[in-house]
Symmetry: C2
Subunit: 538 residues, 2 copies
């Protein structure tokens, strides 16, 4: 804990999905105004260089919930189970009487093999806690329900499916047919999966759309808690695809408000083979076409605008009932979206549009007053959220597990020694076409970003690194990874990579306190006549 | 699996505790004759450069049982629980109908926190399997029972306590008072904890001593199994301290058979601070005195001789009942013992007397005939045992977990690409006096050995490395870690360290097969009109 401040009482951890950092007005978007998120930034600290530890949902979120790097929690991709030994936000908070609930998405995947091997009753509270990665699922809404029969059970069990049906939105898949599809001229269902339909209004009424529904449930939960302490993870599925928005958000922005894609001239493109492989992906090829960008990006902006409006409603509610004054509020995203930048779609590459996330933190305490409205340029990470919550709540951490650092000293204007580089990881083993094209074995597909004050170094298994000078080339258009002039910079960053790997917490079943206690008790090696285990005594 | 050979039926995994590689005649000891272990070497392959992954019991054994490096299984020191997610030998074999039993020591520590958190019934079979790191404890004998009351329960529950008492060896702690103590001239109990008593015969009769008792139970188990397949971990506590042997083994060797300690001249000693700190330990100071070495080493030799005699009895038994012909036999140790070499006692430093272990493997199949009696100089590791067993038994491995490699190709004379360096680790966080003397925080006390064909490089958190040229200085007397002339060698080995760290298996909850299956099914990134999750479709 930073100091002896009175703790905050509640934590509100707001996360968007696939929200780029630069698509908020407080982060500089010229056309998309997000006054409510900006209002939080004005009341707190906005971190301009926040990085996610994994650029897709599962890895990023498990880093957020465990406070640990992807290489530590091992969830290298979506739908990879978290090891049962990992402790999550809920595990840290609940023993202290803090109800720790989820409203929205976690992308948690049950660790069925381990549950079975350990004979843990799948209907027990422990199994539920494990399956929900430690959250009480007040409302779980992971939100992506394709029509494939393997999703039938999940879709039919989803609260949002029941909600829509109760309102008369019928069909096998109301999530798709109403909330994520538009209507054709003859009333036919035009799927939001197809980006050509992004400009259409969703068939659902705005007040029944996912973003409003999720906000409603968050308000319900906070109301229900009254004066009892809580931690709420409000986790919006938007602006994640399917890119389709309910009216009026489908039509708030047009092609003239779409900022141009960031792209090296074709002759200047990095020839790195992994980058080249990802440029061949369908989403990359499509997003490289203006027709696609100009149809999709306005809707992406509309979805963000809707989140901002809902947050306005939520913040008003918090201010009206006093929670604004006793709640630590964090706003962030799990990762970004290339939207055609670098000739890429999606987010599976370690460049800024994917790894950079918004991060705004408001500590309600007076100690944070001096920094309200300020911008902090230090390198912060998604794994810092959990230690920040523990610090703010006055709860003990777990130094032998947590790899993030509390942001509270930064929020209070303390001059703290801070990390010199941020890390992010991606594993393309799961991307079979790219992996095959590159001829890499399944365990040699790791990419690791080391981002220092000035440089971004990307390490690859068995392939040359990439290097970008973020001072002179903030858009990452000039890959210096093979340039002999930058050998020393690469070497320096390889050293950071080694230091980071070596520093990962790999002794999670025993605490520092226990090690110290044991050491003090046994005093191995010291000459004493009577010892617990008399080693080396003559 | 190496090929389509008929599998072996049984595995006998014999481990001594604290047995130095060079204290066997087949490894070159000039005075200590171990004809039975030599007989196994003549019938199999003797590995001259085998390394343990951890130089104390717990870490080394968990590497043996999981097939994973210490940094992966996380048991950094003794009495640190293994994470519940780790799979062990028994987990791999038992599902295939192979009874996997323990006779002797594992040094496993129950993971009580995790059992409680997951509400696993401590009396359930799952809890027992977890507590016994996957072995059926046919006879568990961890063997060290100090008088301190915290050991009361463990000692009273120990089968060896009951065994001794049933034979009339009475007292609160018959393990200590009879098997690990000698008698004074007036019949008083002289503790084996005190090395001054090492020359006395233990008060127990030889046929009731730990080594015979353990061998008896191994023979019982093998008899009991008859023609059913089995894997037996026969794990002797000896020649681990207390250094005291039953007659006649206490008196087989004398000072004249004690080989001199390997020690740099005082002015030539490495000034590395960690090495200096360990030299200050009581056991190091004591073992640096000739009086101690000359009293203890003959007994250490006697204890080894007793193990060899018992193995002769066991091997005769296996040959008499046919098991010699269908059983893969491995003989090894968990780590060595400095015995005063390098002015050190015990084993908590990464020099050869501690990290080097004997490793002899006999594959009974004809395919191994061409290599019988040969010496293999390749760098092999304790973690190779488990993959070797799976290979020999014709069972699938788990490429996403196992970090060791099957030795079967080496036993069959195949020219295999092999590892370029061996790794061993030690964490002195648990050694409070050394840690405090060095002023290192609890998570900055790691030592890592990278041993290549020619060099041994020792990396330290926050301190300079050590470097030894094992071709020109096999006794490791000249520390080149600060010598500018060897900067390139150090750099090369730092590169290996990075490669090794990066290669650790950090995706244990999903198999390679599952990743591949998923990749083939979903074909993310490829343009198709219909996909399970239609990402990036126009």
């Amino acid at each position: 804990m930073s100091n002896s401040l009175p703790p905050v009482r509640n934590v509100l951890y707001i996360m968007c999905d696939q929200l780029r950092r630069d698509y908020l007005s407080c982060y500089g978007h010229p056309h998309l105004h997000t006054p409510n998120i900006d209002r939080l930034a004005a009341a707190g600290v906005r971190f301009s260089r926040a990085y996610t530890q994994g650029t897709i949902c599962g890895p990023s979120r498990m880093s957020a919930y465990t406070g640990r790097y992807v290489s530590s929690h091992q969830v290298a991709w979506n739908a990879v189970p978290l090891p049962l030994e990992e402790l999550t936000l809920g595990d840290y908070l609940r023993p202290h009487g803090i109800r720790t609930a989820l409203v929205g998405k976690t992308h948690a995947t049950p660790n069925l093999d381990a549950l079975q091997r350990l004979a843990i009753d799948p209907d027990s509270p422990q199994a539920e806690a494990l399956n929900e990665v430690g959250f009480e699922p007040y409302l779980r809404h992971d939100g992506i329900y394709p029509d494939d029969p393997i999703f039938d059970d999940k879709r039919d069990a989803a609260p949002y499916t029941h909600y829509l049906r109760s309102l008369g939105y019928d069909g096998l898949n109301p999530w798709h047919d109403w909330a994520n599809a538009g209507a054709g001229e003859q009333g036919q269902i035009l799927s939001g999966w197809k980006m050509r339909n992004a400009h259409l209004p969703a068939r659902v009424a705005e007040e029944h759309s996912e973003t409003v529904y999720t906000t409603d449930r968050a308000i319900d939960f906070i109301n229900e808690q009254g004066e009892q302490p809580w931690c709420l993870h409000l986790s919006y599925i938007k602006p994640h695809w399917p890119y389709i928005a309910p009216a009026p958000y489908h039509a708030l922005y047009g092609p003239e408000q779409v900022i141009p894609a960031v792209r090296a001239a074709p002759g200047q493109l990095s020839d790195h083979p992994v980058y080249a492989a990802f440029r061949q992906h369908q989403e990359s090829l499509n997003f490289s076409r203006d027709e696609v960008r100009l149809n999709v990006v306005p809707t992406y902006m509309g979805l963000i605008k809707q989140v901002d409006d809902q947050l306005g409603r939520l913040f008003d509610f918090l201010q009206s009932n006093g929670r604004w004054d006793d709640t630590l509020i964090v706003f962030t995203s799990d990762h970004g979206d290339f939207l055609g930048d670098h000739y890429l779609g999606e987010k599976e590459f370690l460049l800024e549009p994917a790894v950079g996330v918004p991060l705004i933190v408001r500590d309600p305490r007076a100690a944070a007053d001096s920094r309200r409205g300020s911008v902090d340029e230090r390198l912060v990470e998604t794994i810092d959220a959990l230690p920040t919550f523990l610090d703010a709540l006055g709860l003990p951490g777990a130094e032998h597990r947590l790899e993030g650092r509390s942001l509270i000293p930064l929020l209070h204007g303390a001059t703290a020694d801070w990390r010199r580089y941020a890390i992010s990881e991606y594993d393309y083993a799961f991307q079979a076409p790219a992996r095959e094209r590159l001829g890499q074995p399944i365990d040699r597909c790791r990419m690791t970003m080391v981002r220092s004050e000035r440089w971004k170094y990307l390490a690859y298994d068995g392939l040359r690194p990439q290097l970008f000078d973020l001072h002179n080339d903030p858009q990452e258009l000039h890959d210096l990874g093979a340039d002999p002039a930058y050998a020393a910079v690469r070497e320096e960053h390889l050293g950071y990579l080694l230091e980071w790997l070596r520093g990962l917490k790999r002794r999670t079943t025993i605490s520092h306190e226990e090690i110290d206690l044991r050491g003090q008790r046994f005093r191995y090696g010291e000459p004493e006549s009577e010892k617990l285990v008399p080693i080396g005594v003559w």
